[in-house]
Amino acid sequence: MGADPDTDKNRSDVTLSRVQRLRESLVDVEEARVKLVIFELSGRHYAFYGSEVHEILPWTTIYYVPGAPDAILGVINLRGRMESVITINKFLDLPDIARTQNSRIAIATGKGLRSGILVDAIEDIIDVAVSAIKPPLATIDKAKSEFVTGELSHNGKDIILLDLSALYGKITV
């Protein structure tokens, strides 16, 4: 009757675009997400799954245990519970850790074991889509690859996701 052929021609395209956008937003909402704790070691960024990290402590006196492996820095008294504290720098081929005012102890569980891990700083705690975590590059150093479970990029930084069970397993061997 007075229909505009151009508008009618485009109407289905417009409708299809709306359907597409709707489907994409539904996928984003349903996509699984994980929490990551990002930390720094020797200027590089690493992460653990947030579900593995119970608590983050400021630096405190670590009591050395003679005879323990080098990766074990010692023991701390955490509210009446004795917790081990380890350094993972050697496993990642990084220089020995040096204490600064930003140093933190992340209490984390892996392989059924719980320990503190000394880090240079806690960078951030983020929620990411599972799909944002990519498998580690094939070019990664073999010595470190057993401890790396994935890689991702966040705020322009490359972050290596570490396998806590593999790290703890190395110490208890």
Binding site: Y63, Y64, V65, P66, G67, A68, P69, D70, I72, V75, N77, R81, M82, E83, S84, I86, L113, R114, S115, Y168, I171, T172, V173
Partner: protein, 150 residues
């Protein structure tokens, strides 16, 4: 009934002889120590079992004692330890006829069993630290507990 409750709440204490090696405070149950002897510099520390002249207060004389330095039995990271004020602990055991050279003998303290903790599992399951069997909490300070028989 009250006696049973007393047993469970445990006012039981252990006596710990404490000493400091390389800045680490350590302790051994006094039940493991026969005698504490003055040690003369032998110059042979770091060579495993070695002969060292010790003053035995109970015998009132100097005598040759086969001894080993603590850090040779339980190593510290950073290499061999230099002993500033060595003493020899004569271990109370017929099958262990030697002394253990320690440093900076401190005091004997009483520690309630409620203040004694096992090592955290990550350390206890690992290699190496077997002779260190637990941790005592004394005035907010941690003391590594050593078993000379291990």
């Amino acid at each position: 009934m009250s006696k049973g409750l007393e047993k469970e709440t445990g006012n039981e204490e252990i006596q710990i002889l404490t000493f400091i090696i390389n800045g680490v405070k350590l302790g051994v149950e006094t039940a493991q120590v026969e005698e504490v002897m003055e040690a003369e510099e032998s110059g042979k520390a770091g060579t495993g079992l070695h002969e060292i002249m010790c003053w035995s207060a109970s015998g009132g004389r100097w005598k040759d004692m086969t001894a080993i330095s603590f850090d040779e039995r339980i190593p510290f990271c950073g290499g061999p330890v230099k002993y500033a004020s060595p003493k020899v602990l004569l271990v109370k055991d017929k099958d262990t006829p030697y002394g253990i050279v320690i440093d900076n003998l401190s005091e004997i303290i009483s520690v309630n069993l409620n203040s004694v903790y096992p090592l955290p599992p990550l350390i206890a399951k690992g290699r190496g630290a077997k002779a260190v069997w637990g941790v005592a909490l004394d005035k907010a300070e941690l003391i590594m507990l050593v078993d000379f028989y291990r």
